[in-house]
Amino acid sequence: MLKKLIQNFAVKINFPPFVWVYQAYYAAVLKIIIESLKKQPGIMAIYLIAGMAAGDSVYGLSDIDLIIIIDDNKETKARVAGAYKKLSRLSPLLKGDEMGIYGIEDVRRSYGQTDLYLKYKFFTECKKRGKLLYGRDILRQFNELEGIQRNEFILGQLAFIWSLFLKNFLIGGRIQNKLMRNYICYKLTSDTCKAFISARNNQELFSRKEALEYAGQYLNGPLKIHIDKIKALSKKRFNMDVPRLLADTYDFYLRTVQAAIEQMPCIDESAAGGKEIDKEVSFDFENLDFIISDANKAKINALLALIREKYKNCIRSVLVCPFDLLHNNPLDEEHISIFIVPQGQLTLEAITEFNGIIESSLSAQHLYLYMVTRDMAISLNRLDAGQIHSALFPLQWMDISVLLYLSSPSSVLLGRPLEYDRKKKLVKNYFSERLLDWVPKHEVLVRKSISDPKFIRWPTIEFQVFFWHALRLKLLTNSGSTGKTFIPLSSRQVCRQCRKSADFNFPWLEEFHNEYQKNLNGLSSYSRAYFPQAIAALKKIYNFEFDSSELEADPLKKKMIISVVIPTFNRAKILEEALTSLAAQTRIPDEVVVVDNNSSDNTKEVVESFNHGLKIKYVLEPTQGTSTARNTGIKNASGDIIVFFDDDCVADKEWLHYLEQPFLGDPFIGVVGGEIFACRVKGTLVEDYCIADALLRVGIR
């Protein structure tokens, strides 16, 4: 918020002598960063790639993007990240959440393969026009980009540009912040030019100014005028009267994509994902996990009939994607977006018309239908199931948003989030930082962020959505290519179909589905226990690599050694009751450690004279404090599970049995907690209050 304010202000007074102030500010921030990072051992190089300090034209709006290359020590990364985060508080220009800290091995790997597009993009850009601030020029030793890698890079760049386009569209539609809008417009057009030139001429440009210069030579018509205006803008910075983006940019985009595709023999239609079909698509509206109203069902059927009639049963392929892009929370609920690719060349008008009909007539909550062209489908290829194991295409949600924009320049589709502005204030979130937050979320599904605990929250709904979608796609591709194609809409349908098929008939599938549903409803669920099986199944079906270092845990055991630790202080009498209740357990503890926290009564005698078949260990801890006493207990306990119990409690007969069970089922459970009830001893009013108020109850928190 403050950052936006500063940026707005900065743009408004973007002329000398104020510019000098910014320059000094940038310089000072950079100086401080370098000086304080120099002290950290393990840093090999620091590059600066963007922001005004690197020579960009708009003062005050640019962030400082640093790439820090470190040695391959895990500790170094955490340490440098910590230092960087501290620094990022110093200035809003440094983004704390998007840290460009990479190990040297990481860089090498990213250069070898293109799966980590964003990092890759950074390195290439960094190599070309990055400014070395500190250390040795490491990137120089890497080779130039070639062939497929290069084009993948260009396509990848477009994804980001078009997400900006989308943002611009939204902002241009409602938000009156003209300066921001203009800035994005400028960035967008010049970046598109950059990608266009790279694709056409095998010429890599990394400067926006140059890109605009070159683009003028190849383009004509309204787009040239547009670019000329923007060029003029970059000369006269403080008067940013940028024209709106044109509808022609659509053509421009497609041409750029085509140019990139022409040089990419590896991308064909199958890479666009989904299912190639000849005749009919059908849905089944029974056994859904969500509700679709009857009116909507009729409308969907009517639309399918319209496709059949208009395009003469010539559907080329169908893409299915599990995200809902327009409502900002793609993975907390079940959604399905279906993209239909008809045969032959489609005009933009036809697409707009069809998508317009859908948007105005269909008000479905969980099901979205779109029509797209082949080229759009190719730019969508990242949602293909095949890419789960393909190194070439990481999953990026942005591509779809691009697609949505392209298929409806008349804003019919995008009108929707804007409507939500009034009702739910979704627009604000829509183009805030969350837009970028989504990217790692989906990366989790694929592989990389698995090693970053920040994004992993087992049991993740994301993983489960991914799992069911992966099964759905496999079912689709396995069914024959002629005749009716049945698309399972919800996970329940997927589950049932899998149970019927011979290849994916996993016995635990239904239980996993039930737990998944609980998870979706925000309840605690047991789904985590099925994750190893689910991952094994995915590995088997897709033959894909899954970094399971996060999944390393204790081996499953049939029986655990249980140590019960009881700290006590001057409560010899009730301690005996507690011990008696332990001796009466159906699952007798293997060891009981009583930690005497320096009691002055006869605790020692009580413990030593207690013999009901329990193996009791008496430990004296002279330092006062329950934590200290419990830590001493842990050190003296020898079990796999350490159960904490209080001296003022009485355990139920099956207590330990219940506490042990979850540990036997899932190796990832670190803590098991039970319920605490109150018991009535003296019957005072205060005690009654504790019972009535359910003090310490766990399950009703």
Binding site: L2, K3, R89, P92, P453, I456, R457, G522, L523, S524, Y526, S527, R528, E550, A553, D554, T626, S627, R630, N631, I634, A637, D640, I642, V643, F644, F645, D646, C649, A651, D652, Y658, E660, P662, F663, D666, I669, G670, V671, V672, G673, G674, E675, I676, F677, K682, T684, L685, V686, E687, Y689, A692, D693, A694, L696, R697, V698, G699, I700, R701
Partner: protein, 246 residues
């Protein structure tokens, strides 16, 4: 610590299964009291043992926060029950609650960056609570650790303080206004429970329970407040807001 147990009372309780691992604020992380909990030894070795700064309470919350930030899962098993003998005297209970408040600010300081954190009821959110962290919103560092729970307890006391101020400056109109607001707030927050328990069920004890809870709230809030001041934190915490339905 105790606010955790109490704040979410009567809300979306959880049944058998994995407990959600919230990471927006450490203060609303679900945890298990040490009276009835089992830890895996490997997990303890990984994240470390109990924090010895927490002498009488709070160590369980601290350990659960640390575990929830790693790969380890928290599991709730309602079948494993123990019966706990509570304090029998008012003084004992007050002392216990003051103690609960005592170590909470330490945990807040340990697990949260410097910020003004406001936690309030939001019935739409998953856990029933929402967290506002000012430094995150502003994108700027905040010089202090401040934790504020916004609950009926605070709001009603605000009106009482206003009434007290009115008494001091001898403004009758303000006094009536403040007391009126207090009464309206009280009716809004617990009038229904009062009607159901006292009028319908003729349970006079309910009044005593409410009073006791009010005193306990004060013990807890003051405990947390003074302990917070000692380590340079302003913490206005609170305990449960719903009245018991005996």
């Amino acid at each position: 610590m105790i606010s955790n147990i109490l704040l979410n009372k009567g809300y979306k309780g959880y049944g058998k299964g994995y407990v959600p691992k919230k990471n927006d604020s450490a203060m609303i992380q679900p945890f298990f009291p040490t009276a009835n909990v089992a830890f895996r030894k490997t997990a303890l070795d990984e994240v470390g043992f109990f924090d010895t700064v927490c002498k009488t309470s709070g160590e369980d919350l601290d350990l659960c926060i640390r575990l929830a930030r790693t790969k380890w899962e928290l599991f709730f098993e309602p079948g494993a029950t123990v019966k706990h003998k509570h304090r029998t005297t008012l003084f004992g209970l007050l002392k216990q609650w003051y103690g609960y408040g005592n170590y909470h600010p330490h945990i807040f300081k340990k697990h949260t960056p410097r910020s003004l954190e406001i936690i309030f009821r939001n019935r739409k959110s998953e856990r029933g609570w929402s967290v506002l962290r000012i430094s995150k919103i502003l994108g700027l560092p905040f010089p202090l650790h401040i934790l504020i729970f916004v609950t009926p307890f605070h709001i009603l006391n605000l009106f009482l303080i206003l009434a007290l101020a009115a008494l001091i400056i001898k403004s009758g109109g303000l006094l009536i206004l403040a007391l009126g607001m207090w009464f309206a707030g009280w009716i809004y927050f617990s009038g229904r429970a009062f009607f159901q328990n006292v009028i319908l069920k003729r349970n006079i004890r309910w009044i005593f329970y409410s009073l006791l809870r009010y005193i306990l709230n004060w013990a807890y809030v003051l405990g947390a407040f003074f302990a917070g001041l000692k380590i340079g934190i302003i913490s206005l915490e609170v305990t449960r807001e719903e009245t018991p339905s005996a």
